[in-house]
Amino acid sequence: MNVMARTTGLTLDVESPDWAGGEILERITEEAAITAPDGDAPRVEMVADEGAVVATGAPVARLHDSPEVALVAPMAARVARVHLRAGRRLAEIVLFREPGGDVVRHDAGDAAAGSSDALLHLMMASGFWPRIRRRPFGRMPVAGERPLSVFVMASDTRPLAPDPLDALAGREEDFARGLGALAGLAPEGAVLCKPAGAPLAGVPKDGVRVVTTGARHPQGLAGIRIHAACPAAPDRPVWDLHAEDVADLGSLLVTGHLPQTRLVTVTGPALNETRRLRCQTGADMRALSYGAIRTGPHRILSGSALDGHPGHWLAPRHRQVTVLPAGEAAPKPHWFLAALTRWSLPRPVIPTAALDAAAGGAFPVMPMIRALSVGDDETAIRLGALSLVEEDLALVDYVTAGQPPLGDLLREMLDRVEAEVGA
């Protein structure tokens, strides 16, 4: 059964030109934006106003409710435009790159020496905090929170995702240091999820559990691994972090500066060439794919073809740009054909072998679908829905072409539970 739970899944064949190979180049785009992580719209107070020049890593805004959490500039830049929604909720802060290599450094001495309070403060002040995803609910953790356990994802099975092991190449020391620091933060330690046979040298033994993930999607998703190894609950928060971010944390502990670049793939069926590059967080996706897109209408997604969303800027936790061809809008079908195919109710889901595989064997999939479709939150929680976020059900939605998407239903359910817990 354990073997089954690690191997079930699907291999999705999303078309993309072959990668030509060569060195991974750094490409800092001229424009970038600080946006809210998926599903989050925190209230912010601006530190740098429109027109101000900020250095790499300098705070541009702070959270209204917890000013110790900073949102920092991913490059030396001029604040071009601040767009806040009602209630000063962050929509986007657009930055234009400025020449000059100023870098903000923090004092990491106490944190590196092992003080967990100092580490938390460093993570919040340096702009590391928004990179953390907390479950349940899949948002940034509240300021100063300590997790029960931290999942570090050194595997990513999304179609055409960059291999985290490539991102870690040459940074093993930083990674081990960051992992050790995180393990000291959580009472149940850190869990490192890596593909079978991945050579990760120097991983600290103390407080770190290693989990081997299967090669098929969704085995390499944090939600599936958390669901299996350490279920999250409102009073038992579990964080998940990409391995590259953990290496960045290790680097922060030594140099006092949080690296702002990440390994990103630019892939998709509407491209002439596949790109792998290092760019800053919140990079302009048009600039990243410029010159590689085939002629014709297209859509640029932040994230993979499965769970990405259209946008202008690379989302804070995403490491993938997908360019899909956009067909012309289908002509309105004849009224009789429309009547033959249109459902007045949500479309039923038929249990098939593909559906079982799409859930990765993690949870009973039909009871979960039924619970989410009828809004039975208690059953969904019993089946472990609090460990999941939308991306974990993206493959189920792909397989069933479900209407309405299950991910949306899960988000509604999480919002309801969050409101109830918060009340």
Partner: protein, 260 residues
């Protein structure tokens, strides 16, 4: 952002394609008479699908054709037009369409039709099948399971219990062929069989156990009637097996993690 194609209509189409070996063999040996029954069943089931499309905006489904095929093959013989139409109407409407169409039904509409006809008009003889039709059910099941539209666990559970029955020396020869045909046409329906892996094995095993029980203890019933009765009970019990499997899963998880 990208979407796959396993929506309910695609599953129904693959299921129908998987049933082709058994359907074509039956038509080959049944001739015009069989074709007539099939056309009648298709027309009546199709009529109710159109009615529900107009009244409830519920699009007609290929699953109606699967129901029609199963009814045409398994319904008692020489019922006459009126009884046949009544039975199919009852099964299609109250077995499937009032629940919101295929995918939301609890019991296979063909099973409902057959139970209605069998128990309502007991004087009519149940059909008997030539051996090639029963043999053709095996490739149908293999195609369905390989394509992932028929549950493997149900088939495996049923075969396991049937094999145990044969090994135990029970006389199952008469009931075996109809039981296999009913298994493929009615029990291996992905919607009304259990949907969890342990539940599926239990579901299949339960069906075979019921067939064995009827074969050894139900005097005076035709073999096909026994198999249809077993299929009805198995599909009624399927939600219980699923619930049981879910409870066990939750209990195991609670033991392992202390929470769910």
């Amino acid at each position: 952002m990208i979407r796959g194609l396993w929506d309910s209509e695609m599953v129904a189409a693959i299921l129908l394609a998987a049933l082709m070996p058994v359907a074509l063999t039956w038509l080959w040996f049944g001739g015009l008479d069989a074709a007539g029954r099939l056309v009648l069943a298709l027309i009546v089931a199709g009529f109710w699908h159109i009615v529900f499309m107009l009244a409830r905006a519920q699009p007609p489904s290929l699953a109606g054709a699967i129901t029609a095929l199963a009814v045409a093959m398994l319904a008692p013989e020489d019922l006459g037009l009126l009884r046949m139409m009544m039975g199919i109407s009852f099964g299609a409407v109250f077995g499937e369409l009032v629940f919101g169409g295929w995918g939301r039904n609890v019991v296979n509409p063909a099973t409902v039709t057959l139970a209605f006809l069998g128990f309502g008009f007991p004087a009519f003889a149940w059909p008997e099948f030539v051996p090639p039709v029963a043999w053709a059910a095996i490739p149908a099941a293999v195609i369905g399971v390989a394509a992932g539209v028929m549950p493997f666990g149900v088939a495996a559970g049923a075969v396991l219990v049937a094999a145990l029955g044969v090994l135990a020396g029970l006389d199952l020869e008469a009931v075996l062929a109809p039981a296999v045909i009913v298994l493929v046409l009615l029990v291996l329906d992905p919607v009304t069989s259990a949907s969890s892996t342990p539940g599926r094995w239990l579901n299949g095993a339960f069906y075979a156990a019921m067939v064995i029980l009827f074969a050894t203890g139900w005097d005076g019933a035709a073999p096909l009637q026994m198999a249809v009765g077993a299929a009805l009970l198995a599909s009624l019990a399927a939600p219980t097996f699923d619930e049981l499997a879910t409870q066990i899963w939750v209990a195991q998880r609670r033991r392992r993690h202390g929470r769910t």
